[in-house]
């Protein structure tokens, strides 16, 4: 208490004590790319800190609104970031509890008249003190059916978002184009959400980085050859339709793991030597080049290089 002195606040000390630096560093370390997202989180952190400093001098400005909307293409990390958001906001001291309730339309909208309101209220009550994450939020609103109960859920949601800002942070997530349509038909929603964060697509280098991190968590690894092979794979795959960023990378890696297992097994059946941990963890270039992505643009008749095994599940494309 330094009421008698000239009131001042040491922001740097406040920053050190709050542990915000750790939160931001962790975020930087754990998430590849996503510059706009990190920038916004940093801004929010700074804002909360300044707000705390102002409050200590009696300059109450009211708690900032932190409802957010994450929009971006599939696999750009919207859900991952939302899950982290609860922790970040909790450590920043904005929400009271480090918990996140993740819901979709099914959890909010009822099946008959009078079912929706209690259902939505119950979900909101469960999320109080933490973060309510609504995935694929545009499904809440069904323009083709004017009697859809989604509208009722939206109204209750808006009311709570407005009246109980201290108790709840709502995060909406969805694909950019469809969220745009959703906001156009619910203008109240757009204005009540202070932070619209767009998740950019990853570039090839970032995708490769993501792939290596995913492998590390699964206790696999690339060698120089297979890293090059995966870079080639990404170059081809990103140009194909339905590319879902990190999710596609995960799927590609999962298929590579299958091919690796198949290769190790075939070698063992042919009377190969016992295998060690290094062999078990290595995704070889052949495991990646076995992908159909490499086979398709050639439209050639030959099968993918590795799959010499007789019981190969995927038949070669005819031609």
């Amino acid at each position: 208490m330094n009421c008698a002195q000239v009131p001042n606040v040491d922001l740097a000390a406040l920053y050190r004590d709050s542990g915000i630096g750790d939160v931001l560093a962790e975020l930087d370390r754990d998430l590849v790319g996503l510059v706009p997202v990190k920038t916004r989180i940093r801004e929010v952190a700074a804002h909360l800190l300044v707000e705390r400093a102002r409050a200590s001098l009696g300059l109450a400005g009211g708690a900032p609104t932190l409802h957010m909307c994450f929009s971006g293409n599939p696999g750009t990390g919207k859900t991952t970031v939302a899950l982290r958001m609860a922790e970040v906001l909790h450590r920043l001291g904005y929400i009271r509890r480090n918990h996140l309730v993740s819901v979709t339309r099914d959890d909010l909208v009822g099946q008959y008249i009078g079912h929706t309101a209690p259902k939505t209220r119950e979900v909101l009550k469960r999320a109080m003190g933490g973060v309510l994450f609504i995935d694929e939020a545009y499904y809440l609103y069904r323009p083709e059916n004017e009697r859809d109960y989604g509208q009722e859920a939206i109204e209750i949601l808006l009311q709570t978002m407005e009246n109980q800002r201290d108790d709840l942070v709502v995060i909406l997530a969805g694909y950019a184009a469809r969220m745009e349509v959703f906001f156009e038909s619910n203008p109240g929603f757009r204005s009540r959400i202070a932070h619209h964060i767009t998740f950019p697509d990853y570039d090839d280098a970032e995708l490769l980085d993501i792939a290596e991190r995913m492998l590390a968590t699964m206790h696999y690894r690339f060698d120089a050859d297979s890293r090059r092979a995966f870079a080639d794979y990404l170059a081809l795959r990103t140009r194909q339709p339905n590319f879902a960023n990190a999710r596609s990378v995960r799927n590609a890696l999962d298929r590579s793991r299958l091919r690796q297992a198949n290769r190790l097994f075939a070698t063992a059946m042919r009377g190969g030597a016992a295998i060690d941990a290094a062999a078990l963890t290595l995704i070889a270039a052949a495991d990646i080049r076995g992908s159909r992505v490499f086979a398709e643009p050639l439209a050639a008749s030959d099968e993918a290089p590795v799959s010499s095994h007789a019981t190969r599940a995927v038949p070669a494309p005819p031609g």
Binding site: R96, R97, H99, P118, E122, L124, K125, R126, M128, G129, G130, Q164, D167, L168
Partner: protein, 142 residues
């Protein structure tokens, strides 16, 4: 006469902050909270009216407090209490119950005596407010 039922009833009225701290405690123990109200606070009246369903899976007091406020707004001159239910096998009962709202004017209870067979005295309690029909019992004080 101030009615003393449940936990904390000999203390001064709890503020909303104190109530939410108590709810937080109950939630931390894994108890589910519910809100009930009545205008018949006879000690033997175990079954108060339920204000909505018991609230399971909450993590924060704000949700329960929201229901308490809604109940107060709708029934300002009723007794309102919060119950915390422990579902652990072996307990399966209320672990905590306290009054969070009471009427402005509490007339209290009268001791009634009844002569039984052979001049046996039977004693009972009846609330002064209980003579009026339900819903009108505590409104006169306003």
């Amino acid at each position: 006469m101030r009615i003393t039922q449940g936990t904390f009833s000999f203390l001064p009225e709890l503020t909303d902050e104190e109530i939410s701290l108590q709810i937080d405690y109950a939630l931390r123990q894994g108890w589910a909270c519910s809100v009930e109200y009545t205008d018949d606070p006879h000690p033997r009246n175990t079954y108060w009216e339920m204000w909505g369903m018991p609230m399971f899976d909450l993590h924060d007091a704000a949700g329960v407090l929201q229901e308490v406020k809604a109940c107060r707004a709708a029934r300002p001159q009723h007794y309102i209490k919060i119950n915390a239910f422990d579902s652990v096998r072996g307990f399966e009962t209320m672990r905590l119950s306290f009054i969070v709202n009471r009427p402005d004017d509490e007339p209290g209870f009268r001791l009634t005596r009844q002569d039984g067979v052979g001049r046996v005295q039977r004693y009972g309690l009846s609330g002064y407010a209980g003579d009026r029909p339900s819903g009108e019992r505590y409104v006169s004080g306003r």
